[in-house]
Symmetry: C3
Subunit: 298 residues, 3 copies
């Protein structure tokens, strides 16, 4: 049977847009308990906005470096029942997950990259005679993840697929200039922190180091085409370095966040509200003055 | 002690209306971890609307066919502290749960039926000298579920009760006619899909097959008594077969959902909003024309 | 290595204000699965209001008496990245948790008291060369909790700290008079029940016993300074003893709740809405008449 102890085989890491009001994620957990008894199920989140493949892909990518051995089960699947492929993607494994399972719609790609890249892939078949086509998380993906967790080989699960043929999401907007960068908002978290597509390295490339002053330009979304406003900010290392905690006028900060990306933040206030931005918006960060220096805006 | 390894005894499947904002479900999980160490706890959902026994019973019923060995712990308990009975209900077991534990208010009945019917039942006593009567999930139901998971016999837990005397919920509205059916909305899920009390077999009985055209009649809820409107729809196999995904005018579809029930759906839009219906409402589905045919509405 | 089986070492009890929309709590669970394979993770709640240390401390305190062996991991950490200390607090252990891990901001104190008091404490260091300072739940606290769960000694984790030097929260408002008490609202739960700082013993001290009539005085929050209104109530043993369930005018009750505290409740209606109160408000409860007696309000 190839069933291994939970500790040996690792965990099943589980992410969906099923929400928690319904029993959908719970039923998939029950299927995993039945088909992979002993498998620890680590819920990453089930509150990906409905159908938002990009948000799910980014959450999996952020989680990826922290996952130990096991199998990733990701389901954000607006195309369920359409001809979109169901896939399992093999990884190098070792101290990290050995496979990702989910729809072939771009959801799994960034996490696969973060985990060293796909070493193989297969197309998961629908069970013969199966006419349920609306809940593949339960009927197709969970059984495949359970089989992989039990130790079944990737290529025993379906027809091989060249990983290069997996659907990829378009990369986020990111332009790194001389002392300025233009970047898409990837994520607004529960605390209102605004994660940008730019990394710490991108920040260093434009001269953004802790202590420097920056200006953030955001579209105002008013009737005037292209109208924008500029908000001064300061690069810091931690939320607590910022002034105005929980006041009406919190100081805006730029920092390298826990995923190694630049983020616009306040101390205990939602920067997303201060700036009026959300995921998918594009902001410009201009480095105005180095620490102690007399930069353009100094 | 009769303690078994988790894999052997199966899981504890756990559903409540406790929500997740408070630690209520967490405390019950802690009690299970203490009294049934090693028991995998599979959370089905804790977001049943407060006190909504019917919604909880339906969620348990939908989950039931997918549960492996173990014990079901269900708590939606508006009558906690009243003379309502606390019960454990025995099942045939085998590859499926061997017992359900919860209040005797109808919550457990549909799931018991879906799992082959009750083979026995007992009334759970309150611990001697116990004067806490407001959190039976923690104090009465979880200890009973833990004991059953550890292998204790059902009849060791309390006085026997004839399963025929368990409280039953009234069945939902369902009338199946010639080419028309009238059915209660059982559930609106996170995605706005509208599950009806009618099954796939009910659909076939009125001639609803993929490709046919139907009309859906819903009460408009306006000032006029009995006012209603009719919305055309098409029976399909999958969400992706429908037009108007994420537009202002999505096509309405009828399909057999993942629980084998008829559901009114759109592709990536909430059919419940399109129709203006919620759980407990009653809709009429008229089969207007068979696939390729020239029916009444053709 | 000192790794023990899950049942032997107990569980990791996990509470945060991370919410469930993001993968933050999930990533910490993944870290625990990697560093403490086999550890059952018991989620208490992750919906503590953002940055609300007091609410988190109270939830941990309420849960404490129900926790078996293991380690408590609590993270509500508005000062992450500031000089606030990261700590692990030792407990007597035995049938109860042997340690609490989290920020030194008052979060852990009430639970430590409820579990018999701290027997020791250490300051958790940041890993050498670590420049991530925004996600200590993942980077500092979870690794420490995992080490403790695996059996590492508390004093191996950091420099010792006198438990008397741990940060403490101010106690809640509570004044117990002759036939009256004034108490802070500690918690409004999902069902709208209003838990007070007063205990069952405080209630007995003012003559509040089941059957007696009381009056509850709440600030009205209007323009007039100190304006208040009085709402009659009755002390009962259970929600079901109250009249007006799910009506517009539900009867207000006072009872000893599942945590041994006095709570203002209605039967299946939110008492918090009836009274217009929330956590942190202060109410006065006057005992108006004993059961069957002719008291002040009789």
């Amino acid at each position: 049977m190839g069933v291994r102890a939970g500790g040996a085989a690792g965990a099943v890491f589980f992410l969906t847009d099923y929400g928690q009001a319904d029993e959908l994620a719970g039923v998939v957990r029950a299927v995993l308990a039945r088909l992979a008894p002993g498998a620890p199920v680590v819920d990453l989140t089930h509150e990906v906005p409905p159908f938002d493949v990009r948000a799910g892909a980014l959450a999996l990518e952020r989680a990826a470096p922290h996952l130990g051995p096991g199998v990733v089960l990701g389901v954000v699947d607006p195309g369920v029942g359409s001809p979109r492929r169901a896939v399992a993607v093999g990884l190098a494994g070792g101290e990290r997950p050995r496979a990702l399972v989910g729809p072939d719609n771009g959801l799994l790609g960034p996490a696969a990259d973060a985990l060293g890249g796909a070493t193989g892939a297969v197309v998961l078949p629908r069970a013969a005679g199966e006419d349920q086509v609306t809940f593949d998380g339960r009927d197709v993906f969970a059984p495949a993840a359970a089989a992989l967790w039990r130790g079944e080989a990737l290529d025993a699960l379906g027809e091989p697929l060249d990983p290069a043929d997996l659907v990829r999401l378009a990369p986020p907007v990111l332009e790194v200039g001389e002392a300025s960068l233009r970047a898409e908002v990837l994520w607004v978290d529960r605390f209102g922190n605004v994660q940008l597509a730019a990394t710490a390295a991108d920040g260093r490339a434009v001269g953004a180091v802790p202590g420097c002053r920056v200006e953030v330009e955001v579209a105002t979304g008013g009737p005037e085409e292209g109208a924008s406003r500029r908000v001064p900010a300061r690069m810091v290392r931690a939320f607590a370095d910022l002034a105005g905690a929980q006041t009406a006028a919190p100081e805006l900060g730029l920092l390298v966040d826990a995923n190694g990306r630049l983020a616009l933040v306040c101390d205990r206030s939602p920067a997303a509200t201060v700036l009026g931005v959300r995921s998918g918006d594009v902001v410009v960060v201009d480095v105005a003055a180095p620490p102690g220096g007399r930069g353009a805006g100094g």
